[in-house]
């Protein structure tokens, strides 16, 4: 065959589709200490995020939203990965995740399932789908934008 068949099983790994179909931590919290929502006006992806933070630990997290498999699975995996850890840890994972997508960096083992989204880096128009939930998390936790100014330019 003269031309390669496009390979989508790599972009849409099973773990992504699984989180898309069965989102973890879906819903809302009764008494969130932090919350934020965000949308991607171009494609209509929406994420609303609730957190319950005690001291500097993220004890509980819930999200709801609508949109493509990338935006929704990213949110689901994000909640799984950062819930139970400290805010500093969330910030560190955020940086690693952004590096993976924006700079196409080798995924760090600390990313866990989130590593599955590395294929998105090959699709620049979809990167903002994967980053939407992180943008919302940053807003909810009031994490300084400038800290990530370099990586948020894809917005």
């Amino acid at each position: 065959m003269s031309r390669a068949e496009p390979q989508f099983d790599e972009l849409y790994r099973e773990v992504i589709l699984d989180h898309y179909r069965r989102p973890r931590n879906a819903g809302t919290l009764e008494a969130p200490t932090h919350q934020a929502e965000g949308a991607n006006p171009v494609c209509g992806d929406e994420i609303e995020l609730h957190l319950a933070v005690e001291g500097d630990v993220i004890c509980e997290m819930a999200f709801r939203g609508q949109g493509c498999s990338i935006s929704q699975s990213s949110a689901s995996m994000m909640t799984e990965r950062v819930c139970g850890g400290t805010i500093d840890e969330a910030r560190r994972v955020m940086r690693l995740f952004e590096a993976q997508l924006v700079d196409a960096a080798e995924p760090d083992p600390a990313l866990g399932d989130l590593e599955a989204l590395q294929g998105v880096a090959q699709f620049p128009v979809r990167v903002k789908c994967a980053l939407l939930c992180w943008k919302v998390l940053r807003e909810a936790l009031n994490i300084d934008e400038t800290e990530h100014a370099r990586t948020s330019q894809g917005d």
Partner: protein, 416 residues
């Protein structure tokens, strides 16, 4: 003579390029169409041989450029069956044409409590300008709904149009559902109420034979870029006499007659609404697009699109797991075909089919009221034009099969 797509395709340089290693399959014509060589050459020819500012010059270039520009007014009038080129205003696009009317006619004629009747299938460009004028004047917006088949609910529309109705503004053809609205019938309702009828022709002027006299509307708006022409040119036609009744939209050069310190008088005819140096080159190139369509014949264009739309609707639904929105009868619809693929979001579909060189659109198509009505966040849309062939529909369907396979992997595993 029917449309010969193989011959037509030779006139469109872009159709021979590849995308992601595949021949381009361009099915996003409702957003904008590709341009034939004649249009691209006309731009070059103008800049290389005639470039001059129009209307204000005595020198040869200025005269030639003015004649070429004014000649397109004539062609645009012919395209929509208008009696006089004097009723054709050049704008930037459909959006600006509608804003012009909402400002210049709406601000002068709408009062608190007056009603503006729209439909749920309007493009944002036929909603937001009216919302703005409603804010300025206290007028109220009313929206006619659509039925399960995606057709305008004419009874609802009839009951909405009454004594207080001052404007009825509807699309001739939906850019999402493809639905063609019965404008002549709606014109009867508007006339009885003494309301102004504006028709958004952005999707009809490129695809259907249009006769504004037969439609019976007061205003008709469309965009050159959706009908083989360049970006940056829109058309506004107003029924004879209406332009003279309207106050100016933008002020400046070209649109005046006499300027004095205490005030000015306005130019006659369409020039009153063309302040400043217009988009001369693109208007002139639009003339070549109108010639191209006139040579093909709009009846033939419509017949070709009926054929390919019928083929597409059938092929999409036959492939399984796909629902096509809007009427399925091609007599009452055009070639903008929105569809859902079960369990796969439109953005994921677009990414996958793009890898096969297939360009379709995913999103709300600037019709959020309609998306809410359909209860979907977004749709996929394939839209056809004179150069599209059935094999391109086949390429789309094959690419969609791949999307279904990719997304089916987990579904079949987790299904119980």
């Amino acid at each position: 003579m029917s449309i010969d797509t193989a011959r037509i395709r030779e006139d469109f340089p872009i159709l021979s390029r590849e995308v992601n290693g595949r021949p381009l399959v361009y099915l996003d014509n409702a957003a904008t169409t590709q341009k034939p060589r004649a249009v691209i050459d006309a731009l070059k020819h103008y800049y290389e041989t005639q470039n001059a500012n129009i209307h204000r010059g005595i020198h040869t270039l200025a005269v030639e450029a003015t004649e070429a520009y004014e000649g397109v007014r004539e062609k645009a009038a012919q395209h929509i069956g208008a009696a006089s080129a004097e009723d054709i205003v050049f704008t930037r696009n459909t959006t600006e044409s509608i804003n012009l009317v909402a400002r210049a006619w709406g601000d002068a004629n709408l009062r608190e409590g007056d009603e503006i009747v729209l439909t749920l299938m309007e493009h944002h460009s036929n909603i937001v300008p009216w919302q703005l004028v409603a804010q300025r004047t206290g007028a109220v917006l009313r929206y006619a709904g659509i039925d399960a088949d995606g057709r305008l609910d004419l009874d609802a529309l009839r009951s909405l149009i009454g004594e207080r109705t001052k404007v009825v503004s509807v699309t001739h053809m939906s850019n999402v559902l493809g639905t063609i609205n019965p404008i002549a019938e709606i014109a009867g309702m508007a006339r009885k109420a003494g309301a102004l009828l504006l028709v958004d022709g952005a999707q009809s002027a490129p695809h259907l034979p249009v006769d504004v006299e037969a439609l019976g509307c007061d205003v008709f708006a469309f965009s050159a870029h959706k009908m083989l022409g360049p970006t940056g040119v829109g058309v506004l036609w107003a029924r004879p006499g209406l332009l003279a009744e309207m106050e100016p939209f933008l002020g400046g050069g070209e649109m005046i007659s006499i300027v004095k310190p205490e005030g000015s008088t306005w130019a006659d005819g369409p020039h009153k609404f063309e302040a400043g140096t217009p988009n001369i080159a693109d208007v002139i190139a639009f003339g070549s697009a109108l010639d191209y369509l006139a040579d093909l014949g709009m009846t033939e264009v419509r017949e070709h699109e009926k054929r390919i739309t019928a083929y597409a609707i059938e092929a999409l639904e036959a492939s399984g797991g796909i629902t096509v929105h809007g009427p399925h009868d091609v007599e009452v619809r055009g070639g903008a075909v929105s569809f859902e693929v079960d369990g796969v979001h439109p953005h994921d579909i677009s990414t996958i089919v793009d890898a096969y060189g297939v360009a379709i659109r995913a999103g709300h198509h600037c019709a959020q009221l309609l998306m809410r009505h359909l209860e979907v966040p977004a749709t996929n849309r394939a839209s056809f034009y004179i150069y599209n062939e059935e094999r391109e529909v086949d390429a789309l369907v094959a690419a969609l099969d791949e999307a279904k396979r990719v997304f089916g992997r987990v579904e079949s595993r987790t299904a119980v």
